[in-house]
């Protein structure tokens, strides 16, 4: 009886009709998936082709699919919030429920949507852009993906089992500590982020090594495509920033589960240290999700303006400067902590300085279009919409950087408007642009242009209608994270909610477009869909699993543009040699499945289960250590056959 009481009162989240609905749909969808896989006898296929793969392209696609699912989840959270905030006196969500929803919205959008989406694109594209056959550590890459996937699963489990975290994505102590926030909910946040953070850190290392060591002969650093540069710089930020998060999360976990006093009010803890550690990671984190998007826009604008990128070197250096500055601005997230005039002045100025390299990039994109011949395909539309929207987000960022004024903006909807303007116009537009741009390379057909444009206009107009009024709500004194509005804020909130609906329609059309294009789009017969400039377009579509039959020698920037001019391809018959490729492995999946079990135990403070899971993880490490399989060779014969088939359409 006690056990059943526990299940009904603490384990499962009960008493919320919305959540009952979610539970039913989770069960139904799970049954449907199991049924479909069994009916079509696809279990083996799923295991062989996807769960055990170490192919960077398949891993990239899995990242993107997971990210789209998370965008859906985070978007539903957003719509629930907008519904509650539309009118004063709404009783749709109570305060506690609202708090859980804005917490999961923020955490999911940053950690489980923006980053995996971009990492997915990097995974697919970067090896192709540098002429590599995979990343430097393919096994580690699979491990990264599964750590993210299981981390996301842990986090998402919280809303049906145990309750969602409710301390905000920033989870400031002491509010997020064990005394003020008892129960497993906050542990889900800590462990979910920890598990996926390990994967992100590994990805950072993986891409640094890949880009440094695996470039095609002749591809000097200053000949790298700009998206690869942005990935490289992002990876360096990851490697410096993520250990801070790992340590901070570990300290708070030990506080909560084992009763230490790092961030507690009792026992001489330092609650404000959390805010510092969090933003020491958190500010670089926002550049982790913006720099790759900058890279994507640079590629697309150059391709669709049919011109070389303007100021390539300046683009690279400005990213380096942004990366450096990103580590010395974290205090601007809490100017109001009372650190004094000198500290606030210093961080005001460093923050404003970021506008300089960012401005350089904006003007370089405009310069790229100067004397170009601009086509307006969907990827280009997303990239163009980015510029004005991001400028609005950027200048309001400068306004926020002025500490004395920030005392009035801090914790208000002015801030909410600002970071949505930079993160949606930057990262989300970038993800959509990148996906539609590289979609034909990934799936062998374009996304439908007409549907693409419909979704674009709905989303972009909706975005502005939703978030522009929020600047004024900030001036009107509306604090962020409030579950209810005052009557005087109504008109602007109604407007914002209408915008949110338009965005939702845009996203729905985008997803429908994936299905529609899969059914009806014309298949690509040529690898170079958009008349591209970087090396990824030199491969055939679909890309053979070894990427390049022969790795071309690179003679300058814009490698493929030059190859096209000289009539060269990535298949020079006489130069074909056996290709060494890594073997698939089920260990990453199994290891992270054990990590999932360990995490679940730790979250509920069932230490026995946690230890059992960790033993499983260790066992997988041992198995991996004694694994002497160092890959296999693809025969010349097989390569020639594959290439012949793939290139039939081109002749």
């Amino acid at each position: 009886m006690e056990f059943i009481d526990f299940l009904l009162e603490d384990f499962f989240v009960t008493g919320q009709p919305l959540i009952y609905g979610a539970m039913v749909s989770i069960v139904l969808v799970s049954i449907a998936i199991v049924f479909v896989l069994s009916y079509f006898k696809k279990w083996g296929w799923l295991w062989r082709e996807w769960l055990t793969t170490v192919d960077h392209k398949k891993i990239g696609i899995m990242y993107i699919i997971a990210a789209l699912a998370m965008l859906f989840r985070g978007g539903v959270d957003a719509l629930l919030m907008r519904t509650q905030l539309t009118l004063p006196g709404m009783e749709f969500l109570d305060s506690q429920h609202y708090n859980e929803i804005f917490t999961t919205h923020g955490t999911i959008m940053i950690i489980f949507m923006a980053m995996p989406f971009l990492i997915g694109l990097m995974n697919y594209i970067v090896p192709l852009q540098i002429g590599a056959r995979d990343v430097a550590f393919p096994f580690l890459n699979a491990l990264s993906f599964w750590s993210f996937a299981f981390g996301a699963m842990i986090f998402n489990l919280s809303f049906v089992i145990g309750g969602s975290p409710d301390a905000g994505w920033t989870s400031y102590t002491p509010m997020a500590g064990a005394t003020l926030n008892p129960g497993p909910a906050q542990n889900y946040y800590l462990i979910g982020l920890q598990v996926s953070g390990i994967g992100t850190l590994a990805t950072g290392i993986n891409f640094i090594v890949t880009i440094l060591k695996m470039r095609a002969p002749g591809m000097k650093m200053m000949r790298l495509p700009i998206f690869t540069w942005s990935t490289f710089i992002t990876s360096i930020i990851i490697v410096f920033a993520f250990p801070i998060l790992t340590v901070a999360l570990a300290l708070m976990t030990i506080d909560r589960i084992f009763g230490s006093h790092f961030f507690t009010l009792t026992g001489e803890g330092m609650p404000m240290m959390w805010a510092n550690l969090f933003w020491l990671w958190g500010h670089p984190e926002v550049y982790i999700v913006i720099l790759p998007a900058f890279g994507i826009f640079s590629e697309i604008i150059s391709t669709f303006a049919r011109k070389q990128l303007f100021g390539y070197k300046a683009m690279v250096y400005s990213m380096v400067v942004i990366a450096g500055l990103s580590f010395v601005v974290w205090v601007h997230h809490f100017f109001t902590m009372g650190a004094g005039g000198a500290v606030n002045s210093f961080f005001s100025i460093t923050t404003m300085l970021i506008a300089v390299p960012t401005g350089v990039k904006i003007f370089n994109w405009l310069g790229t279009m100067y004397k170009g011949r601009i086509r307006f395909d969907t990827p280009m539309l997303w990239s163009l919409a980015f510029i004005p929207c991001f400028v609005i987000g950027g200048v309001t960022g400068v306004m926020l950087a002025m500490a004395a004024a920030d005392y009035q903006y801090h914790n208000t909807y002015f801030l909410v408007a600002h970071f949505h303007y930079v993160l949606i116009a930057g990262t989300v537009f970038g993800c959509f642009a990148g996906l539609t741009y590289w979609y034909p390379k990934m799936f062998g057909h374009k996304m439908n242009e007409k549907l693409g444009k419909i979704s674009f206009w709905f989303f972009v107009i909706g975005f502005n209608v939703c978030f522009f009024p929020m600047y004024f709500l900030g001036f009107a004194g509306m604090p962020r994270r409030t579950y209810t509005i005052e009557p005087e804020w109504m008109a602007l909130n109604v407007t914002a909610s209408i915008g949110a609906i338009l965005m939702a329609i845009g996203f729905a059309v985008f997803v429908y477009n994936i299905y529609y294009s899969f059914r009806y789009s014309q298949r690509e017969t040529h690898g170079d869909t958009w008349d591209g400039r970087a090396l990824e377009w030199a491969t055939t579509t679909p890309v053979p699993f070894y990427n390049f039959a022969t790795v071309p020698k690179i003679e300058g920037p814009e490698a493929y543009w030059r190859m096209k001019e000289n009539g060269r391809t990535t298949y020079e018959k006489e130069k074909v040699e056996p290709i060494h490729m890594p073997s698939d492995s089920g260990v990453p999946f199994v290891m992270m499945a054990f990590m999932f079990i360990a995490s679940f135990g730790l979250i509920w403070e069932w230490i026995g289960i946690a230890i059992a899971g960790l033993i499983g993880v260790l066992a997988c490490m041992v198995i991996r250590s004694f694994d002497y399989d160092d890959g296999f060779y693809v025969s010349v014969e097989e390569i020639k056959q594959t290439e012949k088939k793939a290139r039939e359409g081109e002749q």
Partner: protein, 309 residues
């Protein structure tokens, strides 16, 4: 081609649209209509930055529109202005690095000056000693202690106009932020430390004050009212509280600290007699007494005045 004109029009429509929203009575923009010198200096800084930023936005938007209209691919376009190998211009690049640097400098100077100004009591009332008010928060209520007057209020306060108020901010539990948008910017209340925030009202009136920093399930109603009145009215209010309100016993104070909402209250003594949460000794006072009181969060519904639990 049609799309381009559409988008140009849309972008042109955006500022007009927002202006329309603004004037169509979407409530007052409290921050831009301050009632005291602190908020005034912040408003000046904000307006100055908005003007500079609008110039930048205008420059970029015009250049952007020019590029996508002039250099779009269209039938019969003159090929002479298509230059695929054009890839840089050092002079231009220097120009658009230096100009933003100048703008940043132009913004930094008044910012730094204002930052330092706000660390001190407003000069406008330098002839009078600031009124000291200890503003202490506990989930989800405000305690205002007047040590000189030896009175304390809960969830509202009275202040005299034309005199600086020196708030001594601290918290008994979670971090909060005292914000009275009509009077000026905010600062954090934290347990175990004390922050000083100077504000001043020049106009009589009742202003909304709140905790702006999210701190859990009662956050939205963690608010208070500020009654700014002339020196005389203020003095008589103090007298009234002194004469009519009960003393704040430690027992009563401890029970008030328990997490939850509270109505407006007043006392003729202050809790500073028992504890100062802004000191290191006072930081765990509440936790020691209400360790297990945070198990059940509040489930507020429908906002203020909607008959909440």
């Amino acid at each position: 081609m049609k799309n381009i004109y559409l988008r140009v029009k849309l972008w042109a429509a955006l500022p007009a649209l927002s202006l329309l929203l603004l004037v169509s009575g979407c409530g007052e923009l409290t921050v831009l209509d301050p009632k005291g010198p602190v908020g005034e200096s912040q408003k000046d800084l904000i307006i100055f930055s908005i003007i500079l930023m609008l110039i930048i936005v205008a420059v970029v938007f015009i250049a952007f529109t020019y590029m996508i209209v002039k250099y779009r691919d269209r039938p019969g376009r003159d090929e002479k202005d298509y230059d695929p190998d054009h890839h840089g211009n050092t002079t231009l690049e220097i120009v658009w690095t230096v100009i933003p640097l100048i703008i940043v400098t132009a913004l930094s100077i008044p910012t730094v000056i204002t930052i330092y100004e706000l660390e001190e009591a407003p000069e406008a009332s330098s002839d009078k000693e600031p009124l000291v008010v200890y503003a202490t928060t506990a989930d989800w209520k405000w305690f205002f202690s007047y040590p000189e007057e030896n009175i304390e209020t809960v969830n509202y306060l009275h202040i005299p106009t034309d005199r600086a108020i020196e708030f001594r901010l601290s918290s008994a539990d979670s971090m909060a932020s005292l914000w009275i948008p009509a009077l000026g910017g905010q600062k954090y209340n934290m347990a175990g430390m004390e922050n000083t925030l100077y504000l001043q009202a020049d106009e009589e009136g009742t202003y909304e004050g709140r905790n702006s920093n999210y701190n859990g399930s009662g956050f939205a109603e963690h608010t208070f009212e500020v009654h700014a009145e002339n020196e005389e009215d203020f003095e008589s209010w103090v007298e009234k509280v002194k004469n009519t309100a009960p003393e704040l016993t430690q027992e009563e104070y401890d029970s008030l600290l328990a997490p939850g909402l509270e109505e407006e209250l007043e006392f003729s003594s202050t809790h500073l007699d028992y504890v100062d949460h802004g000191t290191n000794e006072g930081r765990d006072y509440l936790i020691e007494r209400h360790k297990d009181a945070f198990e059940e969060p509040l489930h507020l519904k429908g906002g203020r005045g909607a008959g909440d639990e």
